[in-house]
Symmetry: C2
Subunit: 469 residues, 2 copies
């Protein structure tokens, strides 16, 4: 786009959203030129709409000018989904941050896309209600971003993920027309399920301007225990054994040997050197139920001779048990200047096989690979630790990632459980979906966005800068 075209566009944008809600100074634009992936791509201008009509007007304008539009919430995505990789406009939805309604009778919330996830959870909690999806970023990521990326979290095992809580969306389509998908009711089968098509579409099929989210009754209490194992297989077998007892914990987090060592060094916990895996398990529900679950889990774990089993009896004890898990990210930050964090997911019965494979990979490529994550749903965050200035290590890491993805697919898994594709994983989309699968998705993209205005170069095209740590 020429300078004079851009000047004219900015003028029109200011007309739509008001002078202060358009940024065009390159230094301001820089602030919207990255996300949590550390990929970079600076927009030519940044616009902050206040409502659906403004979003629609911006999109129609972009279509007339063939200007790419990059929708953005908090910019906390892990795969470069919010990066302005082809210049154009960053469309930032943080001004649209109202909770319009919490309907306690029908157990739903009506919100704007810029509401921070934790805000909704807090408001729901005050009414005895519960919005379960809990991506690690929930204190700053937005609901619009969560829905666009199909965010997950530790509670998926019992409660499902973001997509399971989206009832209805108001959407501005890539051509600027407005639709409302879904219904406010639990049931509804009128036409295609565009709600679910939009969830996880990563800003390529529409911009959500209002979300109706399902809430559920809040659990009355939560109990936590941690179990340390001298054998990884034993830990994984314990996970399946617990579930076979018909106990469905709200969370089963797993930390492998490498993770435990890094965390132990960071927190000086004095964990036994032979520890090969730790499970951190939470159950929630009514007090009687939760006590019974806790006993069942304890008995099940004790059948496989754990090194240590701790039950939190107070909130302070619970915090202590979570401390190791919560310290993983800062602890990893201490040992390396960078990392590649892959959110691969395998069938629960294959978790041990996956982690064993990462050990083989680490030896083969002379890398440190740290595995932790959500054992209940098979979503294991596989972190390859990197020195950012070591190009040779980066190349070895990239090879390791490719081998990891191959193995995950062989095990019946997926290359992304909760982060999505964006730019970072777009070269691998076809590995999982096959050429016919990608072709079908691309036909849908073209049908709804004939000019490729909305978040172009994401998901489908490998516009990917290779340096990711």
């Amino acid at each position: 786009m020429t300078v004079s075209d851009m000047t004219a566009l900015i003028k029109e944008l200011r007309h739509i959203v008001g002078e202060p809600n358009v940024l065009a100074d390159p230094e301001d634009c820089q602030c919207y030129g990255f996300d949590a992936s550390r990929l970079k791509g600076c927009p030519e201008c940044v616009v902050f709409p206040a409502n659906t009509q403004e979003v629609a007007a911006i999109i129609r304008l972009a279509n007339r000018n063939r200007t790419p539009v990059f929708p953005r919430g908090a910019g906390s995505g892990m795969v470069g989904g919010a990066i302005a990789n082809r210049r154009g406009l960053a469309l930032v939805l943080t001004r649209m941050n109202q909770i319009f309604e919490i309907d306690a009778d029908n157990m739903l919330a009506v919100v704007q896309p810029g509401v921070v996830t934790a805000m909704l959870q807090e408001r729901a909690r005050q009414l005895g209600l519960f919005y379960p999806p809990d991506p690690a970023s929930l204190k700053f990521s937005t609901l619009g971003g969560n829905v666009a990326m199909g965010a997950g979290g530790p509670r998926a095992l019992k409660y499902g993920v973001t997509r399971d809580y989206v009832l209805s969306l108001q959407v501005v389509l890539p051509t600027g027309s407005q639709i409302r998908t879904g219904t406010r009711t639990a049931k509804g089968v009128v036409g295609y399920d565009l709600t679910r098509l939009m969830v996880g579409s990563e800003g390529t099929l529409g911009i959500f301007t209002e979300l109706v989210l399902r809430l559920i009754p809040a659990p009355q209490c939560t109990r936590t225990l941690s179990v340390l194992f001298a054998d990884l297989d034993e830990a994984c077998r314990a996970v399946n054994a617990i579930l076979k007892q018909r106990v469905v914990p709200s969370t089963i987090e797993l930390m492998d040997r490498e993770t435990l060592r890094v965390v132990d060094r960071y927190l000086q916990l004095g964990l036994p050197a032979e520890a090969e895996a730790m499970l951190l398990i939470e159950v929630d529900g009514r007090p009687s139920e939760v006590d019974q679950d806790l006993r069942t889990i304890e008995q099940t774990c004790n059948r496989s001779t754990p090194m240590e089993l701790r039950i939190a009896h107070t909130e302070a004890e619970r915090e202590l048990l979570w401390r190791a898990r919560r310290s993983v990210s800062p602890a990893l930050g201490k040992i390396s200047s960078g990392k590649i964090n892959e959110d691969v997911t395998v069938p629960r019965s294959e978790i041990a096989a996956l982690i064993q494979f990462t050990r083989t990979l680490a030896r083969k490529h002379h890398l440190t690979i740290v595995c932790f994550g959500h054992a209940g749903d098979g979503n294991i965050h596989t972190n390859i630790m990197l020195d950012r200035d070591n190009q040779d290590e980066l190349t070895r890491a990239e090879h390791a990632v490719e081998e990891l993805f191959c193995r995950v697919l062989e095990l019946g898994g997926t290359i992304s459980g909760e982060h999505g594709i964006g730019i970072a994983k777009s070269p691998f989309l076809e590995w999982e979906l096959g050429s016919e699968g990608v072709a079908a998705m691309w036909r849908i993209k073209q049908a709804l966005d004939p000019l490729d205005i909305l978040n172009p170069g994401k998901m489908f095209q490998p516009d990917r800068a290779f340096f990711r740590p």
Copy 2:
């Protein structure tokens, strides 16, 4: 299609699936010319493929010949979705009826589309697992049909509907190419959610040849109670009050005054004449939990002076409580030769308003309207009773349906909670979705089915024969 074209096509079909698996005799074809909607449309031939490859070959052949293909399971759909309304081929999936695998560790089942829903439930139950979706037709309807129509059922309140249990589909697209959607894992965000796009697409976007379905641990026990109210509003308020106690029953069925009268006459139950509504409530889970729920429900209902509250203490008593609910359909069959059954759904808080509105409609149009259904999720089956030979009554009923749909949409509801659109409701699609919503869906249909081969004239075009009872 000319006779000689059809003869050539049949020859090719016999080559694909084998001689005995193609029916071309008009009398045989008649048997595949209707479904539970009582709409009619006879195919020119009927083909029974055995596997994915055969389905794909048939679809490619149909594309070459521009022959419409009408996929079909048990033909138990309520909206004419399986009707061959434009001649062509009926593609019947009942030969593909194998349960390939029940993976107890990962809690999933791999099945062919022709498996009858109750069969999977029984096989899962034997392993302590549970497939919750329970459309009324489950003893004869197929899983492929359930997924294609997005089938619901009474258990939706606690357990969700069919769409919540579909992990992955093998799909033959309308052009004959094959894709696999979704993953075997609970989490997965790679590309667009084509699984959910396919669920409820009513045979217009693809033919499912293999389904991976999620299972959950089976509840240990179930308890049932029935409550009779002298006031409809009171019954509806009780539903919300129960849910506010954080008790989520597996089922809350509601029968209105008209339903109770019809059933009472049929079964000679001796129900009090002043009874205005009955709730039939089931809770499931662990024994201690279920007993506690039952007490909470009893206390909550007793706060609103019900006429009668009965708790089933034995399986025989449970059967007795369910008898009234299960007799609704045969009892309605006794009072009229026909009916229009609309599966409208409103937010739970609006159920009383909806039923009151049907009473107004009944008076205005001199009709008998009987309401019963799933109060927990707002899905109220609204039955307009008809004499099939009375054209005047039919016209009044059609007007009443249109007014009903308007009111349902005003109340924030949907015109179909679980039956779908098919032919019967296609004239009303735009009422709910708006022209932009329908246009977006039609663009997706065209993108995946450029020749309009798969189930043409369904959902979108009002090819509807008006006589529906």
